[in-house]
Symmetry: C2
Subunit: 201 residues, 2 copies
DNA sequence: GACCGGGGATGACAAATGTCATCGCGAACA
DNA sequence: TGTTCGCGATGACATTTGTCATCCCCGGTC
């Protein structure tokens, strides 16, 4: 039996996926979690063979969780499951040690297939997505530019961001200007959007 | 047997939910759809007792679909399923003739329960969400303010919006200013965000 | 007929944002 | 040892955005 841990914040989706997986006669869901923290503690107890991690979770996200899980349980393979097939997500997931990267758009039966293939030592990645991730290149934003852009994402004013990040307003403007240039945007709203679309935040 | 139509764009979630529902011995999924248009055509063929509609779908969204479905098949009850429990969504869903409003956060077994209760003539709504929707009041934005705010949501410049909506730049600024005031925001980014959070767009 | 309210517009003004040049500091690096 | 790069800052400047008063037109409605 393949022992699976399932981390997904939406209860209805989590329950449905668990049911789906438990119907497979070689798969058994041995733990469920609604966020990254929970996934780590549950994993330490249940010792799964594969952890299925959603990226978009409150608190600790799936990619961060993947990295910590790989460190804590090196034998446990990680399958990343996400709503958005963003190039930066894929890149970061691979760097965090994931063995597979699935988007929720794909048909349901691919989930069990991917789990089996991962356990056989394979890596499972949508070829089109892999190509997109490679052609998009790495994140061009410096860490600080990322911080500033992320802090601006909620509509905060430059003054707000400066206070929150303990920077001068001029500095914030400079970083934003650089981010806008690097994302080929016309203002920070567009910059935030392209950065998010690429998975750079 | 309760005949259910399932409309949800994410293949993996749709498949899992279908499996979950088919396990119930009084429920049968008689049709699946990945968007609103498809849901309508499938419904005309499969004549479901209940249609389960996701709001966030590409093309025709779940609420619009609900209204058209109620017109085409008056005997078919509508259950709205959504990721976001936004007050405006609930309000619009009810106005579109929905019998139930579920958020995907809630546990999986609530889905089957809700379907049975809806078929028994009940309405199923999370009380906390209902209270939020009532206390939030109706959408304060005029139709045109809504248009302009929605057109600004993607980071377009005022000039862009003016061109797209065939308005003068000054007019766009005026509408945006009004929308900012009504949403108690400090700039249009915040205005867009609160409007989206309330389900006003 | 008078009186709204919404849509659309103009002009003026203040405030916020974006751009650029320039500086200092420190760490990495060839 | 000099060079490069990221971080942080300042000042000046042009542009964009947000606010406000004021106007016109039109379709209700009292």
């Amino acid at each position: 039996m393949i022992r699976v841990l399932l981390a997904e914040d939406q209860g209805m989706v989590r329950g449905a996926l668990a049911t789906l997986l438990n119907l497979e006669d070689d798969i058994e869901v041995v733990g469920e979690a609604a966020n990254g923290e929970e996934a780590l503690t549950v994993a330490r107890d249940s010792r799964p063979d594969v952890a299925l991690l959603d990226i978009e979770m409150p608190g600790k996200d799936g990619i961060t969780t993947a990295a910590e899980l790989r460190a804590a349980l090196p034998d446990c393979r990680v399958v990343i499951l996400t709503t958005f097939g963003r190039p930066g997500y894929l890149r970061r997931a691979m760097e965090a040690g994931a063995s597979a990267f699935l988007v929720k758009d794909s048909p349901a039966q691919e989930l069990a297939t991917a789990i089996r293939r991962v356990l056989a030592g394979e890596r499972v990645i949508d070829p089109a997505l892999a190509a997109a991730a490679l052609s998009a290149g790495p994140n061009p934003l410096s860490p600080r530019e990322r911080d500033v852009l992320a802090a601006s994402a909620d509509g905060s004013t430059i003054g707000d961001v400066a206070t929150r990040l303990r920077l001068s307003e001029g500095t914030v403007r400079n970083y934003l200007s650089a981010a806008i240039r690097k994302t080929a945007a016309r203002n920070r709203i567009e910059a935030v959007q392209t950065a998010q679309r690429q998975g750079w935040l």
